[in-house]
Symmetry: C2
Subunit: 190 residues, 2 copies
């Protein structure tokens, strides 16, 4: 495994320590095709249950036609900030077996999509791109607009770009950046 900066004493990687979800992006920043390819490649290589790869993505750079299609389906809250990001990605989960109403494709469809999106956002951070995932959009509207079949779900969106504020300087209404302690999240440990 090629590594970057393995510390003598294990410590949290700065990319993971310093990440936050911006609620204002630099509206002049852009991403290249290479950025988009690298983000998709990170998701493509993520692990999944039985290598089922229950994910697909709709990719839209600010100013392109996909972007114009997507922003129409943002909720009022996300419409205030998400269109200013350099890139919007709609994250699709393969939730049902095609042609069935209630046959789950994989019990890990959303878990695996979460992992793939995490790999994508960490790849973004490694390229200097901040990310904010959100749910405030019209799932059915997006699905219809892009002819997403009913056995796939438009689970979440990610806005990628350059944060226009520091961590904690602005926080989305109704949310908090507070975290439980290490003890809180540890159910058992010797």
């Amino acid at each position: 495994m090629t590594l970057c900066d393995v510390p003598a004493v294990p410590e949290l990687h700065p990319v993971l320590a310093e990440r936050f979800s911006p609620v204002r992006f630099d509206t002049s920043a852009t991403v290249t095709t290479n950025h988009v390819d690298a983000l998709l490649e990170a998701a493509r290589r993520a692990p999944s249950a039985g290598n089922s790869q229950p994910w697909k993505f709709i990719v839209a750079r600010r100013g392109d036609t996909n972007h114009a299609q997507i922003v129409r389906y943002l909720a009022r809250s996300s419409a205030q900030w998400a269109p200013g990001a350099s890139l919007l990605v709609v994250n699709l989960a393969h939730v049902r077996v095609e042609g069935t109403e209630d046959w789950e494709f994989s019990e890990f469809a959303r878990y695996d999509l979460g992992q793939a999106v995490a790999h994508m956002t960490i790849q973004g951070l490694a390229m200097g791109l901040d990310a904010h995932q959100f749910r405030a959009f019209d799932r059915e509207g997006i699905a219809a607009e892009f002819a997403v079949p009913s056995h796939w779900e438009a689970t979440s969106m990610t806005a990628f770009g350059t944060a226009a504020h520091a961590a904690g300087e602005i926080v989305a209404p109704g949310t908090s950046r507070d975290r439980e302690s290490l003890d809180d999240i540890t159910w058992a440990r010797n």
Copy 2:
């Protein structure tokens, strides 16, 4: 954002490109308390819907009492390799509101757990630890053994350690390392 090695042309980070899920670990490799702390810290800082943090972890190092408790509940397939890893982590999702039978805690509980585990495994890679997530264990048995309440689910486990083989040299039976192409996972792109 502090970065390590931002390339001139964006490219996939080597940690993400070279990762794989080993099916044999170096049974002499160990991890320190600092490793465990850094892994938990990576999960703790992961993003989640409305900052709901729907995750907890049972941590067991090879040789400790938690480890002995966990390995009794591995399925035959995972029992062949997982006990040899340096560390086993049981990943718990907050799936229901306490005291209810069918009131979902968050529609993103498993998605968010997948993200937190991804952050944990990438932190592991940054410290030189390989990881293999799996489902082949007795969920109810583990939950009973560690008195996990019924509104939490023992969703998955992660084995962390030092791979004892190269990527692709050994593949778990019934699985494949093949990936869909970038085009396959891209539903729409301009």
